[in-house]
Amino acid sequence: MTMASVNRAPRPSSLADVLDVVLDKGIVIDAYVRVALVGIELLTIDARIVIASVDTYLRFAEAVNRLDLQPSQEATGLPGLIEQMQEGGAKRKTRGALSGAGEKARDVMQSITGRGDDDEDEDEDDGGRGNGRRRERGVPASRRAPSRS
């Protein structure tokens, strides 16, 4: 097996990313009469895009506060030692904070959309590595193929 076959995928792994490649992308043919573009049925949660920044900011804020940072001039003596002792466990604690923030974001999502956030559930099932990243994405309305005219 060559390095290339191990290294490179022929197409994106998620459907959202496949759609990002093929929707509204490619050669533009002018003056369609009988040739047309048809839409694709997609279940998207556009509200995810709207709240993405808020979600991120809150996750980061929670993560920093779980680090138990003290102003530099105070981080000496016993508090400094405690901080050092906690440092080794900071990553695990951060992930806990991010999980909590994710649940809060889900509450916000439910209040906006009236439905839950399935992707968050998937993240929780990925062995704990996914809490700090969000790979699955909704597809912005601007990326969708236009309806038949």
Partner: protein, 248 residues
């Protein structure tokens, strides 16, 4: 009803007989060009159709130059493809096919482990410490937490940009073009226009990139794709002379 997937040179049409996948394409030819078409499903298009469409175009682009059409491009019959897609723009399409002939597109996604980055960035940063203290002060609420989170997000984005530039420098240097397609908190996605004969060099560069990013960012490396991101920005000198006698 036909789905029109992509365009190729008529003399490359035999490649359609060799590609596998869920789409069973055939060629509709006119003016030295061929359109790869298939029967459109009776139902509406789904995600599976999107995957099959891209798989077909990737299979074609691996062997021959191809111009992709947007997913969902439909025509009622072969005549409509010849008369509305191929014939009216034959010169331009032929030029574009010649221009893309030597190239493929590669895409690189970097998804950073923000857990690790936040901890690394926040510690020892006086401004973050100040904002963190303010967000924990009595009476502090959402605005203070948002201010802290926004400041951290900016630093995370800066750090990701620095590391991305460092890791992708080799790949960028061997590509003819690059285009940033996304740079948000979820993924940094860049497309690269690479000559076909440099594909192995690109693979080797990404292998080294993967090693550098191990434990810090997930890497998704995709291709060769049709040159979706560079159809309007192909390198100078690749455009052949127009077929028109007035085209000197």
């Amino acid at each position: 009803m036909l789905l029109v997937h992509g365009l190729l040179r008529e003399h490359d049409r035999a490649v359609l007989d060799r590609v596998g996948g869920a789409v069973h394409p055939r060629a509709v030819a006119a003016a030295g060009l061929a359109a790869a078409v298939s029967e459109a499903p009776e139902r509406g298009l789904t995600g599976d159709d999107a995957v099959a469409h891209l798989d077909l175009l990737v299979a074609l682009a691996t062997d021959v130059p191809v111009l992709p059409l947007p997913l969902g491009t439909t025509a009622p019959d072969d005549d409509a493809v010849r008369e509305e897609v191929l014939a009216p723009a034959a010169d331009r399409l032929e030029q574009q096919l010649a221009a893309v002939a030597e190239f493929v597109e590669l895409r690189l996604d970097l998804a950073f482990d923000t857990d690790a980055l936040v901890a690394e960035i926040a510690r020892g940063n006086a401004e973050i410490e100040r904002l963190a203290a303010r967000s924990r002060a009595p009476g502090a609420g959402l605005p203070e937490r948002m201010a802290l989170g926004e400041a951290v997000a900016e630093l995370v984005a800066d750090e990701e940009a620095v590391r991305t530039a460092e890791w992708t420098a080799e790949l960028a240097s061997l590509a003819e073009r690059s285009a940033v397609l996304a740079a948000d908190e979820q993924v940094r996605r860049t497309a690269y226009l690479v000559r076909r004969e440099r594909l192995a060099d690109a693979d080797a560069a990404v292998a080294r990139l993967r090693a550098a990013a191990d434990g810090v960012a997930d890497v998704e490396y995709v291709g060769p794709l049709p040159v979706y991101s560079f159809l309007d920005d192909l390198p100078e000198g690749e455009q052949p002379a127009p077929r028109s006698r007035w085209g000197w």
